[in-house]
């Protein structure tokens, strides 16, 4: 019994709260500064969606943790909050605001955890007239093997790029295939073979006019890593073919196994949906006499055979489409205003921040409102007694 208490008291202490908040400030500050070098996405992974910040030891492959990451700070703060409420707060009307406020905070931390685990962000690029039933990851690639033997539908099996590592052999799920990764470049540049410094310079051949050479990974916001892999496919442990594929080289490779047609490609990771969107018209309005964008809007057609939906709608700034648990936002444009880029977000915890925010604000207003009221009464009393 005593043991639990000795453990519980420091966990519930106000000092720990302040230490956590201070750690959070350091984390946010350093994580913001580092965005200049590694971009927002990587900074999120290293600082906020991590358990610790690591400092690499020069000359070795090891790194030492030197500061708690976002998960640790947020987690400890969460435990601290809960413990504090259990240990110290007894309900009274006077403290209702504080309790509501902290309940909101707890919910918000939990919500952020849900979001950071379950949220999926992808993008859908549509040229005018084009129709798609999938969106693509802006960060990740996949090795996709497509079974083209059925006349009406393709069967696609994909392996995420995080599994692709040089020298690895991967069992392709649901088939007798195995993939041997002969080589893998996380980022590469596609060049003409004639532009190689020497014929012996390490490269992977993609076609007669294109080879891939390895380049350092990019963290810039407007650039994407182009992965390239050299793979050998084994069918029942017998080689069926060897190819080089790259996510920057859109042509899939056709091959046959046992008379059945297949395709293999390294492509941005796809998220298929049971419905499709078609871009009818993209508009990019500018203010008169300037290049300043006034509005972007995409006129799209939504077709969902399962739900018997077939309708036109428009997506523009601050006016997304919410459909089937996904939200489509107008994110960008390309190709002389003939291509739209829609941000596609799936977040099951989408409503949590709204509820927690409501609680937070209500708690704050309640607490400070009561304060102000009491203070005003006190001042009134003071001035009355003075006169």
């Amino acid at each position: 019994m005593i043991r639990i208490k000795t453990l519980f008291r420091p966990l519930a202490s106000l000092k720990l709260t302040i230490i956590c908040l201070a750690c959070a400030m350091v984390l946010v500050f350093v994580g913001t500064l580092d965005q200049v070098h590694i971009g927002i996405y990587e900074a999120q992974n290293r600082y906020f969606k991590s358990f610790a910040l690591f400092l690499p030891i020069p000359g070795t492959r090891f790194a030492v943790p030197w500061f708690p990451g976002g998960y640790v700070v947020g987690g400890v703060l969460l435990l601290n909050l809960i413990a504090a409420h259990l240990a110290r707060f007894k309900f009274s009307w006077k403290k209702l605001g504080i309790v509501v406020l902290h309940a909101g905070l707890i919910l918000m931390l939990v919500g952020q955890l849900i979001t950071s685990i379950f949220q999926v962000e992808s993008q859908m690029r549509l040229d005018e007239g084009e129709r798609k039933n999938f969106s693509e990851s802006p960060y990740f690639d996949e090795l996709a093997i497509t079974d083209k033997s059925q006349p009406d539908r393709d069967r696609i099996i994909s392996i995420p790029d995080s599994d692709l590592r040089k020298g690895r052999t991967i069992q392709v799920p649901g088939t007798d295939f195995k993939v041997v990764v002969n080589d893998f470049y996380p980022n590469s540049a596609l060049v003409n073979p004639g532009r190689l410094p020497s014929p012996a310079y390490p490269h992977l051949k993609l076609g007669p006019m294109a080879v891939a050479v390895q380049i350092p990974k990019t963290y810039k916001q407007d650039e994407r890593n182009v992965a390239t892999a050299a793979v050998t496919l084994l069918d029942k442990d017998q080689p069926a073919g060897s190819w080089s594929v790259s996510s920057g080289f859109p042509q899939p490779v056709n091959f046959q196994v046992g008379g059945k047609p297949f395709q293999i490609a390294l492509q941005p990771q796809r998220y298929y949906q049971p419905f499709s969107l078609q871009l009818l018209k993209f508009r990019h309005d500018r203010y008169a006499g300037t290049d300043i964008a006034k509005n972007f809007s995409s006129q799209v057609r939504l077709v969902d055979p399962a739900r018997k939906e077939d309708r036109e709608l428009s997506i523009y700034m601050n006016h997304p489409l919410r459909y089937a648990g996904l939200t489509f936002y107008q994110a960008g444009y390309d190709n002389n205003d003939r291509t739209t880029i829609l941000q596609v977000v799936q977040n099951p915890g989408r409503l949590v921040p709204y509820i927690s925010c409501g609680l937070l604000v209500a708690g704050l207003l309640l607490q400070f409102g009561m304060h102000l009221f009491r203070f005003a009464r006190k001042m009134q009393g003071a001035s009355a007694s003075a006169s």
């Binding site: 959070a24 200049v36 979001t115 008169a288 997304p320 989408r350 937070l360």
Partner: protein
């Protein structure tokens, strides 16, 4: 009697002086009526503004003062300079309006030969640039190859100079093709050439014999006016027949080429041509008559486009924020002096002057909102004005509650400093610029942005009170325990407000982000900056509730809050990443570093023990952790 009336007389004198400065301008009885010309509406950067604003904005992009001073302390009205640029370019080319501050750039342009020019040796005229134009273009193009964030000072300055020169060339070609000896004669000749020329073109296309001379003449004119398309910047010519607002304003090239279609000279072109001819001949009466005729024409054809430019021209002249700055200085002097002499009289004067300043500040804010048709904060400039306004408003309440002059001093400082910041930001270009697509929603601008700005206001105000605590603590004799306690209470109260505003504002920002790009929290620098303010305010509150800090501690923590807020407000814009970045500001960076250093020094001073006189006051019992008393 006199003693009682003196403060009133003083305040009335100040008010009268202000009114005289803000009265609408009267033109010189003889001479060109530049005041009325300055009100003429034109479309620039997507919005209709008066010529006066075009002149001021252009000058501020050229020399970062927004003024043209051929003789020290004798500025020429900006619009008078603009008239010269547009109508007598050969004279404007000699005006030294371009300022160069970068020493390397100065060297490139033969700066060492200019040492004889004692007055403003870093000011150049367009003519002085002429030998260097191709070099400037070459260097600017090279500089643009570098990423905007990694450019050095020279590269940024050369690009800025090239853009200023380009702007100047565009201004010269706004009303007429530059170098037209007499624009009125030119368009008369053009109007005559159109029918015969068009006939010639039709004949030629039909394979019939055609008038070669007429054909070539019309071709020459067309080419000359098509070339003007490169100079599109000021759209000065209204087209009353345009179906919607987007096409209502035309550039001179489009307006002239329209003649080929309609076979008649656009009336606005005719008015401006008369204006230019009169100006070039030195005919003031003719110039003034043409301005007045053109105004009448505008009132008949595009009445909706006149009110705002009219008001804006007056607003530029009256400069309410500048006048408010002067008043804030007076308030500060009176309020500080009131701690030393005539406490009642001076405090009363400070109070009334502060109210006057606040009225001007508010009036200016509302006028800007009307001109832009937007909530108060749309860019960094307007955020400075609004943050100051919010802080002054809070101070008015503080002063009303405590009546010890501290509210007045804080109001004066906050008002003056934020307006000074705004004044400097204003010189970066148009402050009423149109909003980019992402920001184009009045609902969120009115809620999230305003509340976050109030969060900045209150955090800064708490910090300011902390600074006052540190400074007054140095004067041991007057720093009574009561003063310490009441300052501590003030800071605590303001920190509560700051927490409320910054938390609610940050949350509203998250909701906006969720609505417009699908993530509640994206760890964007500006979001993180707001979060830092929330976290710091939360730390202050918890530290106080836990009894870890008392008055001095909370004051010093509030001073540190100044650093956090300044980083969040300006520092994040200097990172150059994320959705909220507005561009890099070099000088501002040094100022920011200086500010942070200053705050750290103040905290250091605050930590030093001060020899106390008299008995120590008994230490109040520690408050229970987590308990909210007081």
């Amino acid at each position: 009697m006199i003693k009682k009336a003196a403060p009133w007389i003083f305040v009335l004198l100040v008010a009268g002086w202000l009114a005289s400065k803000m009265m609408p301008e009267k033109p010189a009885p003889q001479g060109f009526n530049f005041v009325e010309f300055g009100k003429l509406p034109v479309l620039v950067g997507g919005r209709v503004m008066p010529m006066d604003s075009v002149a001021r904005i252009s000058l501020s992009l050229m020399n970062h003062h927004g003024a043209y001073e051929p003789v020290p302390h004798k500025p020429v009205p900006p619009v008078a300079w603009l008239v010269n640029v547009m109508m007598r370019p050969e004279e404007a080319d000699q005006a030294r309006v371009f300022e160069i501050v970068n020493p390397e750039l100065l060297d490139l342009l033969g700066g060492s030969d200019r040492q004889d020019k004692l007055f403003a040796f870093n000011l150049f005229s367009f003519n002085e640039f002429k030998p260097f134009l191709s070099e400037i273009e070459k260097q600017a193009q090279a500089a643009e190859q570098t990423d905007a964030q990694t450019r050095n000072a020279f590269q940024r300055e050369i690009i800025k100079l090239r853009n200023a020169l380009l702007l100047y060339l565009r201004l010269k070609n706004s009303l007429q093709p530059e170098g037209s000896p007499d624009f009125k004669e030119e368009i008369d000749a053009f109007a005559q050439a159109v029918p015969t020329g068009m006939q010639a073109i039709q004949d030629r296309d039909a394979g019939k014999p055609f008038d070669q001379a007429a054909f070539e003449r019309i071709l020459q004119f067309t080419q000359r006016y098509q070339n003007l398309a490169q100079a599109r910047y000021v759209y000065a010519f209204p087209d009353p027949a345009a179906p919607d607002a987007t096409g209502r304003w035309q550039h001179v090239g489009e307006a002239l080429l329209g003649t080929i279609r309609t076979r008649r000279v656009e009336p606005a072109v005719g008015f401006y041509a008369t204006l230019i001819s009169a100006y070039r001949q030195g005919d003031a009466a003719g110039f003034n008559a043409a301005v007045s005729n053109y105004q009448n024409y505008l009132r008949r054809t595009v009445p909706g486009e006149l009110n705002r430019p009219d008001l804006e021209a007056w607003f530029n002249h009256a400069a309410p924020f500048l006048q408010a700055m002067v008043l804030y200085v007076l308030v500060f002097i009176c309020a500080v002096l009131s701690w030393l002499f005539w406490p009642r009289t001076l405090a009363r004067v400070a109070g009334w002057l502060l109210l006057l300043a606040f009225v001007l500040h508010t009036g200016g804010l509302i006028t800007r909102m009307y001109l832009q048709g937007r909530p108060p904060v749309t860019n960094l400039y307007s955020s400075a004005i609004f943050v100051g306004w919010g802080a002054v408003l809070l101070c008015l309440f503080l002063e009303r509650i405590y009546r010890n002059g501290i509210g007045n001093v804080c109001a004066a400082t906050a008002g003056f400093v934020t307006l000074l910041i705004a004044y400097n930001l204003q010189l970066d270009g148009d402050t009423l610029e149109m909003l980019r697509a992402v920001l184009d929603t009045n609902v969120w601008l009115a809620t999230h942005v305003v509340v976050v700005a109030l969060g900045y206001s209150s955090t800064f105000l708490a910090g300011l009170l902390g600074v006052i605590y540190v400074i007054r603590r140095l004067f041991v004799r007057s720093f009574t325990p009561e003063l310490s306690r009441s300052l501590g209470r003030m800071i605590y109260g303001i920190v509560c407000f700051a927490t409320l505003f910054s938390l609610v504002g940050t949350i509203l920002g998250g909701i906006w982000a969720d609505q417009s790009w699908g993530r509640f929290w994206g760890w964007d620098p500006k979001e993180n900056g707001a979060l830092l303010i929330v976290l710091w305010n939360a730390i202050i509150l918890h530290a106080r509730w836990g009894g870890y800090v008392k008055e001095r501690g909370i004051a010093l923590m509030a001073v540190f809050g100044n650093i956090i807020t300044s980083l969040s407000w300006f520092g994040t814009n200097m990172l150059g990443v994320g959705l909220h970045s507005y561009g890099f500001m070099d000088q501002a960076f040094n100022v920011l570093i200086g500010f942070i250093a200053g705050q750290l020094v103040l905290i250091g001073i605050g930590l030093l023990p001060v020899a106390s006189r008299g008995p120590k006051r008994p230490v109040a019992p520690l408050e229970q952790a987590g308990q909210l008393t007081k």
